[in-house]
């Protein structure tokens, strides 16, 4: 096992900076997920670690060894591709043995290792099947076994669960985390699915527009996002725009576009008159009934409700035309569509971001 470090990595195609000055250290045995919308540079970053893409700038270290310009075949890395990239003309066992054959491992040793991996992925009976005869989940497992067969220093995975249906995906995610923990292999996984990232990751690296936005545990990203992008991308969130009325002692009085006023801790960086964005999670908004005397309550029209089993999602349109997502416990009878409802919220959970999207909380 080995750590992976990216130092000031950039990739430029023409005038576009696909990856812009990325710095990242993946510790030994850690599972790090690169998360971001398509085109954010996450896959390019992964492919630079694999060696398929040459960085325009910066250096990549694996286990302390500079591999920036090393050919992929010499890096001793395992990789699971988005389309699995299994060799269609080979059996399951031949696919798993491929990397060992390239390393000129003896016949007996190969057979033993292949048997070991077939056991790991619980497919001992399917060694002689052609990979084209397998289901999606089985192909996924074979791809993982093939990558692990050579005992790589690092495991890379590019959207590995994208092609699977929801049920199978959850099963495979569980299986992967168990295998990864058992082997203790350093893993870098790319996905655009924030839920998948939170399920799998020890740490998540959120990327957008080629830049790393924030690196942290799922908990840190969810509760303490460093900028507005992370706040909106990780977990569901409501964003309201507002304006700073006055600041004193590190707190600001903010008037939201919907008419709400609130006093929140914002640090010293903000000046009166500046526009800000306030985020509040759906579960921190509560439907207070049809009307309340609470002066801080928001009034809006119930537009939609969706029963999701354990919770109910409500969409409430404010007079300012902002639509808020409210998450409430199931069980209570939902207000009728089209009626006016009052919302109260836990202001201590609201987060404030300046006009550039930088967090003003927690400084």
């Amino acid at each position: 096992m080995a750590s992976v470090s990216l130092h000031n990595i950039s990739k430029v195609y023409g005038n576009t900076r696909i990856v812009d000055d990325a710095n990242l250290t993946v510790n030994e045995g850690e599972l790090v997920v690169l998360l971001g919308p398509s085109g954010c540079g996450k896959t390019t970053t992964l492919r630079m670690v694999a060696g398929f893409v040459q960085p325009s700038d910066g250096s990549i270290l694996i286990g302390g060894e500079d591999v920036t310009y090393m050919a992929p075949r010499l890096r001793n890395i395992g990789m699971v591709f988005q389309d699995y990239a299994l060799f269609p003309h080979m059996t399951v066992a031949e696919n798993i043995a491929f990397g060992l054959r390239q390393r000129r491992v003896g016949r007996a040793a190969i057979a033993a290792r292949v048997a070991e991996l077939l056991d790991l992925i619980q497919m001992s009976a399917r060694g002689d099947s052609l990979v084209t005869a397998l289901s999606g989940g089985q192909q996924q497992r074979v791809a993982l076994a093939r990558a692990l067969a050579v005992s790589p220093r690092v495991l890379l995975m590019d959207e590995p669960f994208g092609a699977l249906d929801v049920r199978l995906r959850e099963a495979m995610q569980l299986e992967l985390t168990q295998i990864q923990r058992r082997l203790g292999i350093t893993t870098v996984l790319v996905t655009h699915d924030q839920q998948e990232a939170m399920i799998l990751a020890d740490r998540i690296v959120v990327m957008a527009n080629g830049r790393i936005q924030q690196t942290g545990t799922p908990d840190e990203l969810y509760h303490n996002p460093r900028n507005r992008f992370v706040a909106e991308f990780v977990g569901r969130n409501n964003v309201l725009s507002g304006r700073v009325e006055e600041t004193r002692n590190g707190e600001s009085l903010i008037t939201l576009r919907c008419g709400m006023r609130m006093l929140v801790p914002t640090g010293q960086r903000i000046q009166p008159g500046e526009t800000v964005a306030v985020t509040i999670r759906p579960q921190h908004l509560m439907i207070a009934g049809t009307r309340t005397a609470d002066a801080d309550a928001l009034t809006g029209r119930m537009e939609e409700h969706r029963f999701l089993g354990n919770v109910v999602h409500y969409l409430v349109r404010l007079p300012s035309d902002d639509v808020l997502l409210v998450e409430g416990a199931a069980g209570m009878a939902p207000p009728e569509l089209g009626t006016d409802v009052s919302l109260t919220w836990r202001k201590d959970r609201a987060l404030v971001f300046d006009a550039r999207g930088q967090a003003l909380h927690g400084e």
């Binding site: 694999a50 395992g78 990789m79 990239a85 060799f87 390239q102 093939r146």
Partner: protein, 326 residues
């Protein structure tokens, strides 16, 4: 690649050496879906087969059948054939070393053409498929455009390069490598060059489609697993391209077996391939029986080779699977 399939059809029809084409045209009507089956639109799609069936019947099946019939009659000279049926034309061809060596020469030249074409065409097709985008489309269009130029014009152009006073020979003489020009035209080498020029564009277009079906990720997977470029080529690219290489090779082989223009123009009448002998028998000697027999044998022979090659390849892949299972 829609343009590619139309090309295949055109060439194999023109050369008449690919029996598969007439099978393709007649089969749907004979063993096709029941006539009552209508799509959701209520259109009887099978009716659309009739015009092409009629055309191929009138222009291909009837004349060819007539030709086969003709081949069982003896030649009386001046275009007259005997009334009775006889197999003497076939007996004469099969016992005459002259004709047998003509068949051998035709197969030999065609096989050489296919071998050389695959060696040159596959890397080119591979590169084009991997470059992709506009560059590949443009280059592929250029390659296709060359097959638009009449074979006659193309082959005459080769004189400028290969002739005894051509560029290559002048260079050789200037460098004093030999004392006299090397003959590259009016011999087998000339025909070989002509056949390569005739079939190569088609091969590249077909192989381009083959390479496109092999995802780049397979090569990346091989690389990250430690395979060298050579190992990736032999163990991943080639096995996955095998069926496509075989099909493209067969098509080029069939084109070459029936190629007449290249053999006549670059062989100078001295290289007697079977198509040349057919032309001589029918046009010069008006020995319709003999010409028809030669032609029938050529078609039958090429058909057998196609069947044999396909059968062998299917059998070998079946065996491989069996060995694995057992």
């Amino acid at each position: 690649m829609p343009s590619c399939s139309t090309h295949v059809g055109k060439h194999s029809m023109a050369s008449n050496a690919n029996p598969a084409c007439c099978y393709r045209l007649t089969a749907p009507a004979a063993g096709g879906p029941p006539r009552s089956r209508r799509g959701r639109t209520g259109i009887r799609w099978e009716w659309f087969l009739w015009p092409s069936l009629l055309v191929s019947l009138v222009l291909l099946v009837v004349p060819q059948a007539n030709f086969v019939w003709l081949s069982f009659h003896g030649d009386l000279g001046l275009g007259q054939v005997s009334a009775g049926l006889t197999a003497e034309n076939y007996a004469r061809i099969l016992t005459d070393p002259f004709y047998l060596s003509a068949f051998w020469l035709t197969v030999y030249l065609s096989a050489m053409t296919v071998g050389f074409g695959l060696m040159v065409g596959f890397p080119a097709a591979y590169a084009l498929a991997r470059i992709g985008g506009w560059t590949a489309s443009l280059l592929l269009s250029l390659i296709l455009t060359t097959s638009l130029i009449t074979v006659v014009v193309k082959l005459m152009g080769l004189n400028i390069i290969l002739g005894s006073a051509g560029l290559i020979n002048r260079a050789i003489l200037a460098l004093a490598l030999t004392s006299s020009p090397i003959p590259m035209l009016n011999n087998e080498f000339g025909v070989f060059i002509g056949l390569v020029q005739y079939t190569l564009p088609m091969m590249i277009v077909l192989l381009f489609g083959v390479v496109q079906t092999i995802p780049v990720s397979l090569e990346e997977a091989a690389a990250i697993l430690g395979a060298t470029r050579a190992a990736t080529y032999w163990q991943v690219i080639l096995p996955n391209a095998k069926a496509g290489l075989l099909a493209s090779g067969l098509i080029a082989f069939n084109m070459s077996m029936g190629a007449f223009t290249s053999a006549v123009l670059l062989g100078g009448g001295r290289v007697r391939t079977v198509p040349v002998l057919i032309q001589q028998a029918i046009i010069q000697d008006t020995d319709y029986g003999k010409g028809a027999a030669l032609s029938t044998m050529l078609v039958g022979f090429v058909f057998l080779i196609n069947v044999a090659v396909v059968a062998v390849s299917v059998e070998s892949s079946r065996k491989r699977r069996w060995q694995r299972a057992g």
